[in-house]
Symmetry: C2
Subunit: 309 residues, 2 copies
């Protein structure tokens, strides 16, 4: 089976939305990416760090989804990264209430031996130097390296981020971040500028408005599935990234046409993530449900126009 290497946080989240409030629950980019990618026939591993306050049952949950966890370092006497946030009524914006880096402050990622020749590498949102360190440990050039990042690193580690951009194939960022990184308002122009910085493919995530894939003159647009209820957007972007890279790892085909499919799978999985709080929906999600929703995505977007004279 093809291998997907994931680096990203494994953490505690405390989430408040207009629909309710959680206690400390399982969260983190690495967790969401891993759960999402577990829907494909691949081998995957998460590289991350937690404290010894992290429950064994959460690690067991990841293992039960066939995710290799030996790359998740457990720091004795350390505390796990904690984030808490409150979403506004439109669910499109949120306030961070608390961030406790804890063991993440001194995180030195160690790639498991068996994953140093991974086919696809998914660099979840972290300091660019941590992401670079993961790439430095690889013994074979991956088929594809995908980077997720955010405005925070553009503000405080732009040089490191620009160095990293030269070493990756795909970047996934949201629309506002694409505008910030490129200095261009038009997303078409922004994608051009960002491609010139390194990545051949630029994926721009627009939340409830879907996602765009740009490469050269090619553009693809995947809508988000219109949902009756969005319960909690936490992890949707990471779930998208997990579906995107999971599908590309399984199919081992990085043509633009296959990337379209990967975008659809990412959108598909993300549409489930937001239906319940935290990772709850992703933990119980079956492959049958994913296949059924794929049909909904086809209904939603496919048309058949006969050209008129």
């Amino acid at each position: 089976m093809n291998k997907l290497l994931i680096v990203g946080t494994v953490a505690f989240d405390e989430i408040e939305t207009p629909f309710g409030k959680t206690n400390k629950v399982l969260g983190g980019a690495g967790t969401y990416i891993g759960l999402s990618a577990s829907h494909f026939n691949i081998k995957s591993a998460i590289v991350s760090v937690v404290g010894d306050d992290f429950p064994q049952e959460y690690l067991d949950l990841l293992k039960s989804k066939n995710i290799e966890t030996c790359g998740i370092e457990v720091v004795e006497g350390g505390k796990t990264f904690f984030w808490s946030g409150r979403y506004h009524n439109d669910l499109n914006s949120r306030d961070t209430l608390d961030t406790q880096l804890n063991v993440l402050a001194d995180f030195n990622p160690v790639v498991p031996e068996d994953f140093k020749d991974s086919d696809v590498v998914m660099l979840g949102n972290l300091h660019p130097n941590i992401q670079i360190s993961v790439l430095d440990q690889l013994t074979a050039k991956p088929k594809l390296v995908v980077l997720d990042t955010m405005n925070f690193w553009m503000n405080c580690a732009l040089d490191e981020l620009k160095t990293l951009l030269k070493r990756i194939d795909v970047i996934t960022i949201n629309d506002e971040e694409a505008r910030q990184l490129s200095g261009e308002y038009s997303l078409v122009k922004a994608a051009e500028v960002i491609q010139a910085m390194g990545p051949k493919y630029v994926v721009i995530k627009k939340g409830e408005h879907g996602a765009l894939l740009f490469s050269g003159n090619d553009v693809f647009y995947a809508p988000a599935l219109p949902l009756k209820e969005v319960f909690d957007p936490t992890g949707a972007g990471d779930t998208f990234a997990g579906g995107f890279t999971g599908y590309l790892t399984q199919t081992h085909n990085v043509s633009f046409n296959n990337m379209k499919n990967a975008i659809i799978f990412g959108s598909n999985l993300a549409s489930f993530c937001v239906e319940k709080f935290g990772t709850e929906r992703m933990e119980e999600l079956t492959r049958g449900e994913v296949q059924t929703r794929l049909q909904e995505f086809k209904m939603l977007t496919q048309f058949n126009i006969e050209l008129t004279k």
Copy 2:
């Protein structure tokens, strides 16, 4: 040929965007709808009113596009409706600088005899009572009645609007208006509530994020074409409506699947409208350009996933 009856303003606009400023130019919902619908093999007529300050060359332009103008009343000594607005930097919002109703204040629409049995009726944004008056003059039940309206009428003529909603088949409104009319934030729920008010089909326009079509449990999503430059959004919604109704008039098929195609044609034509100021791009647009862009829409949205086991 099948007949499309259009009611809507024919007016003067003065537009300011971050890219420049026009003098008084040709504008109005009826104008944009008519120019857009002229790309189909149909007979169309505009019902509207102008003053005697309205240049003959503008009427000649409409005639040259095979649009019947005998339903556009010219009021001797009257002044044509005038609107002026300034768009903000993101082009998604605008301030109205001036509105002079002029002859529109006493507009009594008169449907030309030959169009009282039209196949499709497009009620452009106007007071609901004017739109109702047009329906009252018809001698045969149309295949389809499409309504465009806006928040202004929800605020000041909601009862009349609700009466009208019971007599139409399709409503096109933007996302904020759908939320206001329904009292629901989720667009899926909003579309359900609005369907219960009358129209079997609800089209929600999301500007640069595309358009959604809802009917019962069916949903279709058409993206807006990502453009390098959006020059002037004026008339984009009306151009969308003109493409939507023009296509449905020509094909005379109001199945959900054919409505999907109509949405794509509407989005296609609207993507040209915003490329230049006012009606400029629509005046010069050729059918060849429309067909080429249709291919771009296919590239943008169509994918081919083989289901995995």
